[in-house]
Subunit: 203 residues, 2 copies
């Protein structure tokens, strides 16, 4: 699969896999090197240190995470439709990257180098105009009046938690992997219905 990649790219790919699976504290430089089929010296040759490499991977992960949202917001569909598609896309994206939210949240709370720094997420979301859409919809009475923080928290809670809390949900209900995947599919429908009902109430 990655036979034709450069050494540097191979290490970056391996680092991404290992860091996301085990976290910064949970793995060693040697493990990353081994995963890439290299030795430790090469990792430090290309990236100077474990910390530097981590910062690179982390910021790329944040960027992926952010972009998965932005492209839906940037469309010019009606807000109600946009929301439904957002949830759909978010579930699709997280199905392919189920460990991403946990990785980001964990490493963020570890403090350290993994900060928001220059990412300026809020501004980049604002630039899509989705916040203005919401404001207008609220003024016109189509959308429930509530602050942006609560709206995004509702969306993130219901989209991200099922993936974040996978081990917990599986454990509590003693589900197999297969049963859990199936649960996700139906849960997405409930979430879509519940959120649209609540955010865009019919008089």
């Amino acid at each position: 699969m990655n036979k034709d990649l450069s050494t540097e790219a191979k290490i970056k790919e391996a680092a991404r896999r290992v860091f996301i699976a085990k976290g910064f504290d949970g793995c060693s430089s040697r493990e990353i090197a081994k995963e890439a089929g290299m030795n430790v010296a090469l990792v430090n040759y290309y990236f100077r240190s474990k910390g530097q490499l981590f910062k690179l991977i982390f910021h790329a992960a944040m960027e992926d995470f952010l972009l998965s949202m932005l492209d839906v917001f940037a469309t010019d569909l009606a807000l109600e439709v946009k929301m439904r598609i957002f949830i759909e896309r978010e579930y699709d994206f997280l199905t392919n990257h189920p460990e991403l939210p946990g990785f980001i949240i964990n490493e963020l709370s570890r403090g350290d180098g993994a900060t928001f720094e220059q990412l300026d997420i809020h501004c980049r979301i604002a630039e899509t105009g989705v916040f203005k859409d919401m404001f207008r919809a609220q003024e016109e009475g189509r959308m429930r009046k509530m602050d942006l923080v609560s709206i995004t928290t509702l969306l993130m809670s219901n989209c991200q938690f099922p993936f974040l809390g996978r081990s917990l949900i599986k454990g509590v209900h003693q589900l197999t992997d297969e049963q859990f995947e199936q649960h996700l599919v139906v849960h997405k429908q409930y979430v879509t219905e519940m959120l649209t009902n609540y955010l865009f109430p019919q008089k």
Copy 2:
């Protein structure tokens, strides 16, 4: 505060603080010993190894977490009321133990010793009769017909994520600690309203 505790208890308390704050991989035995005002030898004298001590702390944390839910379910209030109180209590509990869900979810997915083993959460919740209540409410048309897994996922998502994702929410919206605490108070109200509206729809 803990001057009158036994050495063993002091270590256990320190270990709880450190493990929950930094995770198993994120701390050392020495750090726990230091936090307790002891040395490493004492930690291993009482608990044999870092891993043994961790198992103890983790299972106690799971138990706390579980009990915070069970005592509400065990009451004989009407299901609709029970739900509202559950959310209220869960937010109260998590306000006092905000790092608990992240700790549990993380360490669960680390695999290792931190499993559900004999906890049998599903049975202990079932014993409170809350699942039967739900079944009856669904039969009588008071409650939306959906599977138990989805119901609990909705509850956990909306109660736990705001605490789990604290760093993410704060970062995205550039909130201060104070602003975030305030957000939690209003968010709890939205969650309560949204979930009761959805789970117990008025015809």
